[in-house]
């Protein structure tokens, strides 16, 4: 019960501080937008390759943007040592992780939903017919990125060269998510769409494994 109420309280704090400053959302939206526009110049949006490569480029942009978004997740708790006050206040440290990863997932999803119409226009790919499946893949992929990323952000925030460490750890770890999400998205956005349930199942299992690991070992990541 206290885990749930503490998570909701902390989630409220995360959302309030972000919507007040809009730092992360602005950075991520601008970054994905720039990457999508640059890639759209590189490939012709009228050709069939656009359907083949577009989703992969979209996921690559999401992954890079996520590494930007996740960097300050624990770093900004160091400014006034607020992580210590949170650890003093909550009975279960998992609530700190849970609130942060839910907030990161929501921010990432919001960015993706804002970017989806632009992606459809730039790459000439209709997304509406398979939107519900696409949103499911975006949700599972974003949850996986946020779960692993939040854990790694806690680790890298305490290290030297922290700005370099997070992408170095994050990108290889998230390669399976990137490959599977891109493959499932390509099938969904094909002229003859196919729902790859195996891939969707893999994403769900990846998320569950990382969530469980975070629940079991998260407390140790917060120690000084």
């Amino acid at each position: 019960m206290s885990l749930l109420s503490n998570t909701l309280t902390l989630l409220g704090k995360e959302l309030r501080t972000e919507f007040r400053s809009r730092e992360l959302l602005t950075t991520t939206v601008v970054f994905i937008l720039v990457v999508l526009i640059l890639f759209s110049f590189a490939i012709s949006p009228t050709t069939e390759e656009s359907r083949e490569f577009g989703p992969g480029l979209l996921w690559l942009a999401i992954l890079f943007a996520a590494s930007l978004m996740l960097q300050p997740c624990f770093l900004r708790e160091q400014t006034n040592d607020t992580l210590s006050s949170l650890r003093l206040a909550v009975s279960d440290p998992f609530s700190i992780f849970l609130a942060k990863l839910i907030a990161n997932t929501l921010f990432l999803l919001l960015t993706e939903i804002l970017m989806l119409p632009l992606f459809a226009v730039f790459y000439n790919i209709p997304v509406l017919p398979q939107l519900h499946y696409l949103l499911l893949v975006l949700f599972l992929g974003s949850l996986g990125i946020s779960t692993a990323g939040t854990a790694l952000s806690a680790i890298s925030a305490q290290a030297r060269m922290r700005e370099l460490l997070l992408p170095l750890l994050l990108l290889p770890l998230l390669t399976p998510i990137l490959v599977v999400s891109a493959t499932v998205s390509v099938s969904l956005l094909d002229r003859e769409p196919v729902v790859q349930w195996k891939g969707i199942g893999f994403l769900a299992i990846f998320d569950m494994v990382f969530l469980t690991a975070l629940w079991l070992f998260g407390e140790y990541l917060l120690e000084e």
């Binding site: 503490n6 006034n80 040592d81 607020t82 650890r87 003093l88 120690e223």
Partner: protein, 230 residues
Amino acid sequence: MTSPTPTGLRFDNIDKRYGGLYALRRVSLEISPGECAILAGRNGSGKTTLLRIAARIVRPTAGTLSFPGATADAAHSRPGYVAHTTMVYDELSAEENLVLFAKLQGVPQPAARAEELLREVGLYDRRASLVRTFSRGMRQRIAIARALVHRPSVLLFDEPATGLDPLGISWLAKSLGDVHRSGCTVVMSLHGESEISALATRAVQLDAGSIVADTASGASLHSILTFRGA
């Protein structure tokens, strides 16, 4: 402020090592319920580490920490801790910060408790202002309010007077006195004698991570506090 259960503090053979460096070495210390103890010592003597272990922010490498008299699951049995930094969010208002920490610690009627504390620390008129707009003294006040929000029975202060002007130090000494008189056990690290050190009933001197002096008598207490480098 009410303290439902008088709670003490006991360190048994505490070691804290960072790599090969000992920050604390076999520290054993018992602070009785209701005591106001001062930790003195040079920079790097281990005062902050000992306080952070007492606050359960840092885990000791060896040894045990206990709170004699504490109720296992009561929120007030968690110590209140005021560090060098404010430990509150700059981008939230004073009121939002206090309500946040009150809710996290299961304080009944968090908004009412926040209002009560804001009046006590003299920040009620600035309750809606973001903490980042506060002066050093105001930040120290909000830091103290945060530490008191769950009515702790043990309060830990790490150099509470740092950066405060004489008026701020007087206010702090009065507030600490009120908290101590309400039955709260107070442990603080301090440099030299001041209005705040006048509250002390005991002084413990640390050097290179070990306790080198521990006294409750007036003259010895004075000598520890005025020790050069303390």
